[in-house]
Subunit: 174 residues, 2 copies
């Protein structure tokens, strides 16, 4: 089975990284609870939004993000029995390309370079399963689309959903 | 129609770039004619082969390669009527990722970031046409596989073949 796994907010806790960077830059105490149901940039005063939207353009931003809980253990297991590819729509942010590669080297060294995809849109992926936090990626996929819960997508309906990596394991390691 | 186009030796004259770099490094006069039917590294003394195989790991190598004749003009035309994606198996060479992105910015600015794919293998591409110089990419593609002639593949049989970008235009702009 060919499984595509998104990076940001599925393997990497990008959401909390945005909050941390924001709190550092503006000396504030924004919490994930305050952002619930929205993008981080939508949860701050209008005059600060631009700053959050710039994070992804900063070299180093993607390099320091923490892996999502249990993603390493479960992805290792999955990749031993399935054809697991990492598919990140990173092209909008050229300075993220090498950061994302090095991040995988550090946290997911078992993901061979042959299994890494950095793309623009994901309409071109041919496989069986896509695990992603964004509906615009999931709705164009021909196979089984699984939404990984992130604070920004909690109100999105219409997709099979997992809340964490143990649930992914339950679904795909049977 | 969704068309995938490989970069090296289809859009970018990587073959001649290897020869030029080799001649510079070893103060030799290797010509493309001497390499005919082989990889560049197979056309030099054994003790020099390693040096050529390292080119792709050098930051900057992919940045200075010349575009293949007529690739810019024909790809511009194609991308106005078809869904054209650039698909490069660049992941083996992490330092090439940003170089390849900037090279596209310079020589193919009309290729939007959404249409750029840097991957490991190309088995995961879903579309109608793949133009590539490597049989291991072409033979796994579900759609129409078109081999772009490069000195190293002149003896390869079994694929629809084009020798230049005017022939691509003939095939796909009808």
């Amino acid at each position: 089975m060919t499984i595509f796994v998104d990076m940001d907010e599925v393997m990497a806790d990008t959401y909390n990284a945005h909050i941390e960077q924001y709190n550092k830059d503006f000396e504030t105490c924004l919490t994930v609870e305050e952002c619930h149901g929205k993008e981080v940039w939508q949860s701050v005063p209008e005059e600060h939004q631009k700053s959050i939207r710039k994070h992804a353009h900063n070299e180093g931003f993607f390099r320091m993000i923490k892996p999502i809980e249990n993603s390493q253990r479960v992805l290792k297991e999955l990749s031993e029995v399935h054809d697991v590819y990492i598919a990140s729509a990173a092209m909008e942010f050229p300075l993220s390309l090498l950061d994302k590669y090095r991040w995988l080297d550090e946290h997911f060294p078992f993901i061979h370079w042959k299994k890494r995809i950095l793309c623009g849109d994901k309409h071109i992926l041919k496989g069986d399963v896509l695990i992603d936090d964004r509906s615009f990626n999931l709705e164009h996929f021909d196979g089984r689309s699984i939404m990984f819960t992130s604070p920004h997508n909690v109100h999105t309906k219409g997709f099979e959903r997992v809340d964490n990596w143990n649930e992914v394991r339950e679904l795909l390691m049977k």
